[in-house]
Amino acid sequence: MSRTLILGAVLSAVFVAAALVSFVWTPGDVEGIDIANRLKPPGAAGLLGTDHLGRDMLSMIMTGARTSIAVAIVAVGIGMGFGVPLGLAAAAHKGGLLDELISRGNDLIFAFPSLVIAILITAIAGPGAVNAIIAIGIFNIPVFARLSRGAALGLWTREFIMAARVAGKGAARISAEHILPNIANLLIVQGTIQFSLGILAEAGLSYVGLGAQPPLPSWGRMLADAQTMVAIAPHVAIIPGLAIVLTVLGLNLLGDGLRDALDPRLKVLRT
């Protein structure tokens, strides 16, 4: 196992664990506003101090991780759930009208800057975690559709697929039974990367006020709230900033590590 993979896995696991633990326990109350104890530095009140309304930062980060992870998981789920079948269908009908429609549709969505459109969607549909998920999810669809179409195209010319066709299996069955398992490793790697992008997008949307709404903590909004306090209490900005950086870094390392571990061709190259 590579060091990248281990580091990535550890960082990711820490944040997933923080999010899971927050369901049952947090050191403080994320809705407990205590003005008298606001902006306390780390160590003085709780492990990570308190924010501008006196809420425990560690609890906010833990619950915020939950928001980020939930948004990112569902968004990646939407991307995979719609994107992979579309990509496989396109590959199965290479050159046909369906392929053409799906591929051009992908190009169309890719042509838009994703975060700007996400802002547009949430501005029209109203701010909130659910709309943020949908906005981020839509942009994950073409990513997975393209990836699976490209990978599947290569497989369709292989002998074992030929054999399956000769055996009388239809395109849908071949895609599900033979193509999908063979591209799963690629999808997992891409999923990890998209997951980190989803966390970043959620933070971006909450930063401009279009993501999860208060009192639900969100890293992006914590950063936005902390903006004017950097000079008087730097920890309120540094802590959520670090949380975002470390999580995104961790997931990217994990994605890289997984690719190295799962892709046999790279293994051959290395050795």
Binding site: E31, G32, I33, I35, R38, H52, L53, G54, G126, P127, G128, G209, Q213, P214, P215, D225, Q227, T228, M229, V230, A231, I232
Partner: protein, 489 residues
Amino acid sequence: MTFRLTLAAALLTGTAALAQQTDLTIALQLEPPHLDPTSAAAGAIDSVLYTNVFEGLTRFTNTGEVVPGLAERWDISEDGLTYTFHLREGVSFHDGTTMDAEDVKFTLDRARAEDSQNAQKALFEGIAEVTVIDPQTVEVTLGQVDGNFLFNMAWGDAVIVAPESIGDIKSTPVGTGPFKFDSWTQGDSITLVQNPDYWGEAPALTEATFKFISDPTAAFAAMMAQDIDAFAGYPAPENLPQFEADPRFQVLVGSTEGETILSTNNQMAPLDDVRVRQAIAHAIDRQAIIDGAMFGLGTPIGTHFAPHNPDYVDLTGLSGHDPDKARALLEEAGYPDGFTTTLKLPPPSYARRGGEIVAAQLRAVGIETEITNLEWAQWLEEVFRGKDFGLTIVSHTEPFDIGIYARPDYYFQYGKPAFQELMMTLTATTAPEKRSELLADAQRMIAEDYVNGYLFQLAFPTVADARIEGLWLNQPTQATDLTGVRWTE
């Protein structure tokens, strides 16, 4: 030798320029949508133009007093219905045309016309007729006695405009003030230059640039780097101690006409029940909101009236922080387990931060709120015009605006007939003691009906270079009067 002379000359002029710096860059949070104060509600227009470019018959001073403006003096008839304004001699507009009685008639008739776009049409409603006696004299006849008339004429919405320049007023404002409009770089700044033909005392500044910076972080950076000389209405109270500690700057904390309230939809169940509104009032801890959202800046209020007004009645006692009483009232109203409503918050920090604190305080007595953060345009659309809200937090910055409670179609929809009657009596009353009495009744009526949650009077922090003097401390109306501003060294 020549070199030395040049150097000496350069040094001399250099010091001279330093000694009499006459330009000023002052920042404001909001950029005006256009530049016609007589056709929009946006206070940002007045913040730039009031008294600087446009003047009215009367005007507000820093302390809120109404003093003569373009009208040098006036006579009021015995019955209080006819005001004869004597205009100043030699006043001209920036385009060179003279300002005379015809312009006053044009302005007032335009403002009270059927199709008038004036945002404060009510100010002119009492006017029955405007007659030009001679170029320096104009007679205004009222339909009924209006004790507020001279006050109304001081508003930014009542400044005198000319028929010659009205067509382009939104982009090229032409007024009579000590500064002329020079240029507007949209999204960035507006520049004014001194008007050499001003009728009154010439201001010390020759040029003034208004910069628009709404982002608190950018405001802090611009001020610290001294890219701007002053910031009127500084957006982040948490940074003020740093400026106070820095000898380069001075911090002025004045008062505004901004009653910051937890506006309540009086027509939406269960908020239409006075017991529920009273419960909300008792659930709120004002001091926690002032400390938490405004870092201590702000005066608690118990009704919709500015505490610095001599007629203010302190009614904060009617709605002291008492969660137990709030719970009891909710139970009495039939909501022992509380209820859920919406809390829609516009962008200012008093609303966003204050909203989270209010939400926590309401949750403590069982009222759940769904918070939605809105941009101003959305807020105006959904809340102000659409009336689609349960609760919202907003500061009402117009001076002496208790009259909005008489309007049943105003967004919080109170408009109780008894209150309307009270306002009508008030308008028809001129005797000061009687007016004070009526105003006290009005304040008490809305406080006892718990129409809205009354939070605090918005403070007005100004951060400025320590060498500047003459900036307005208070905001009796939205204005950045530069006539008295000068550099001291």
